[in-house]
């Protein structure tokens, strides 16, 4: 499951999308919008067709690199309020070490190469969040 969506992410559905009888471990990562004095929400701008393509390729590379069984990535586009999930990644493997390694690697790659940009939406100002 690779999705870019404007609505809330259903975490249970993402987890269920990677379930397999030959998996003994599922690792899930949720990136959430952290509270900050000046931040009410984050706005995610997504170059959608390229993001979907890049996420799909990431999933294939993770399967080859770590031997995992299933991977799903769901990312929000648009405004996500403080406390909301902006990205959920679920990874299933026979054993847990691969699942942890793959999930962590995929999230690093999402931050590094997927064309998604975030802007802080605060009560008054609005500026690009520093890296």
């Amino acid at each position: 499951m690779i999705e870019i969506q404007r609505n809330r992410i259903d975490v249970e559905a993402v987890v269920d999308s990677v379930r397999r009888n030959d998996a003994g471990a599922i690792v899930v990562f949720l990136g959430t919008v952290r509270a900050d004095p000046d931040v009410r929400a984050l706005d995610y701008e997504v170059y959608k067709p390229m993001a979907v393509r890049t996420l799909t390729e990431l999933g294939e590379r993770a399967r080859e690199k770590f031997g995992i069984l299933e991977l799903s990535i769901v990312h929000r586009a648009g405004r996500v309020p403080v406390g909301g999930d902006s990205v959920v990644i679920a990874c299933a493997a026979a054993h847990r070490s691969e699942a942890f390694a793959a999930c962590s690697w995929v999230m690093d790659e999402v931050k590094r190469i997927v064309p998604i940009w975030k802007t802080e939406a605060g009560p008054a100002k609005r500026r690009a969040r520093r890296p």
């Binding site: 690093d108 931050k111 590094r112 190469i113 064309p115 940009w117 975030k118 890296p131």
Partner: protein
């Protein structure tokens, strides 16, 4: 030939638009397109060092030759914060 130019985040804000339809002569490379965009929008100058270029949703180098109908995207760095 007609080329779609897409701009995102900071670049979109600087240019004031996220999508431009430009006409180039055959044989134009991605690098020449970027030069033309920088010439028209000088406030983008300085950004070209960290700019990532994609043609039809795939990252490319500057010497790639464009073809009719290509979509060229100028992508700011996607640095997404601390691990």
């Amino acid at each position: 030939m007609q080329i779609q130019v897409r701009l995102f985040a900071t670049y979109r804000e600087i240019v004031g638009e996220g999508q431009l339809a430009w006409t180039f002569r055959d044989g134009t490379t991605v690098g020449q397109l970027v030069e033309a965009v920088l010439a028209k929008y000088p406030r983008l100058l300085g950004h070209e060092k960290s700019m990532v270029l994609a043609v039809n949703h795939e990252v490319v180098r500057l010497d790639v030759v464009l073809r009719e109908g290509d979509e060229v995207a100028l992508l700011p760095p996607v640095s997404g914060g601390r691990r």
